[in-house]
Amino acid sequence: MRRQAENTVPAADPDDVTLSRHLTRARRRVRLILSARYLVVAMSLVVAAVAVAIVWPMMGAAAAWAALVAGVLAVASACLRTPDVREIAATVDGRLHRADATVTAAALRGNRDPIARLIVRDAIAGLTNERMASVFPFELGRPAIVAAAATVVCIVVAAGVTEWRATESTASGGMRIASREDQTSSRPRPPQTGQEQATQSDSITAAAQSAPATTRVETDATRRTDSSQRETDLAQSERPTGLATAPSGDDRPRGSRGDRPLPSQARPDLGRTSSSGSGTSGTAGSGGPSSASRPDAGQTGASLRAQTARTGPVGGVRLEDGSEGAGGVQQGRLRADTMRATVPSAANYRQSYRAARTHVDAAIARDEVPLSRRTYVRDYFLAIAPRD
């Protein structure tokens, strides 16, 4: 019975099948184009989110989630908003100037009226030689283009912000050091007698000797600050001398950072420097021996001054306090020992460091270093900056 019923069921008209195939092809093409459009928008959102995450790392997770949601929504929208067959047929008619032939034929599929058959046949004839790629060219559309352009702008802005931040952080570190130096140098120092100076030097020396751990054990923050200071010191060591606060007896500026000796100069004299008790400024005058513990104490103030002038200040800001007397000697020794333990030749190291640092800065400027590693690389090079 069922078999008989199946045989009597009129077969699907071949024209209807052909028309449906054409319309399905067109619909598939439209869906592809829509998906591409929405994906461009979604990818733009993702790229924008990545840029935001780079600029504001705190928002990285939220941006990633937002991008993910946007991408899913875009794909879902592309699938849901694919026009139905009737709309597709109307679009085909509009683009091929077919005078509603396709949309009428689509509506008359399955109709046995001879006029309907003729309409379907004519619609197929009009679609047979048409390529769907030419009917629906691959156009991204204005929203996708605008999204892509906005993404490019976002990337450029993000890169600019990142660069500006790097520059600002470097500049602010230098400014901090400079301001601290200004405060130190501009602070009027009361006149000190030789005994006061000796007492002060002794107390500083004692403090330095009694607290070596605090000198060596540094937090990250202080290390970073010190690194910035060392950087500043390094930069200032290249300046011409003559910016000292007051000339010393041998016409060399005293207390200026510009005349700090290079480590290569200081290291051979370390023993003498440490024994001279000259400190950094050499203003101790003829204060006599600065410390009984030094093996060759007792040099004259002039020799100390000369020695100081040759060796220059040691250690930068932290040594300022010890520069007034022989107390600074101990610090100079400590630091020199540290340097000697790591770098055999300070002069070569400075040159090597400078070359390496230049290379790294250029690499960072060319975006060859990943954004996430730039801070690390900078900190590293600040940490290994040559000490005086």
């Binding site: 005078a99 509603d100 949309v103 009428t104 006029i115």
Partner: protein, 345 residues
Amino acid sequence: VKGTVLSNQDINAATSAAEIEARAETFRECFHYLEAEIARVFVGQRDLVNHLLIGFFCQGHLLIEGLPGLGKTSLVRTLGEALNLRFSRIQCTPDLMPADVTGTNLLAETSDGLREFSFQRGPIFANIVLADELNRATPRTQAAFLEAMQECRVTVFGTTHRLEEPFSVFATQNPIEMEGTYPLPEAQLDRFFFKLTVRAPAGDELAEILNRTTGADRVHATPRFGIETVRSMADLVRRIKVSEPAMRLVQRILEATHPESPSAPAIVKKYVRYGASPRAAQAMTLAAKALALLAGRYHAASDDVRQVALPALNHRLIRNFHGEMEAVSTDAIVRGIVEAVGRDS
């Protein structure tokens, strides 16, 4: 095998499709033949001729408006001659009586000497009736045309007489001589399928008219086709499908003619008192079908509707006081409607 069994219905459908194609070809041939024959007599104005033929094949009644001497009568007469149809002309005057149009019972003597009433058919019993200057007839006589135009029949002394199809009334009226006329009421205007306007001939057309009409030979149309062909054509036109966009366009246009409609454009709200009736939509749809068939299609499209909107609507819009005072033509209003609807769609 399932899927390859053709039912009798399919076979009939295939046969009918071939037949319909042949009829459609005949329609186009007939249409172009009539265009050519009319062009031999009536010079220029192809749009007017086109609309006239479309209205005729849709079996509508047409109102032709134009100044005297522009060839309105020649146009309609040539159509009747070319199709070998019965043609009659009624010159409407104020003293024209309804019986003069429909016919009347006359007391006649039979062969055996008895006298009895026999119905004498009036000029309305024709395939193509030219009611010349219809607005000069009295409303009573004009009303005599109503039943004939709408129902395709006349009733005289309680007896109904059917009119032979095809039946079309081509009424003319003079737009300038309004004195002593009886303007057609809106109800009667609405019964006209199209209102066509005959314009004055241009320079070249006038020279051609002079050449043809002042010579020794008088031009006549050659009869071809016949009443059956016209009936077949009219039937074929009605079987043409209408696309969904075209149907929607007709609906929107009709809605836009009503000033109270939200979709009415500003020109309608400002100058129109009453919009078009559903009969206007019927006229647009039918005419669009004929136009589609003429274009070789079996479905009416939106463009077809746009092309026939003007002759189908321009006599169905009733202007308000502002429209009449500012002499805003209904043609301009209809164009505004079509433009507004096309812009919105």
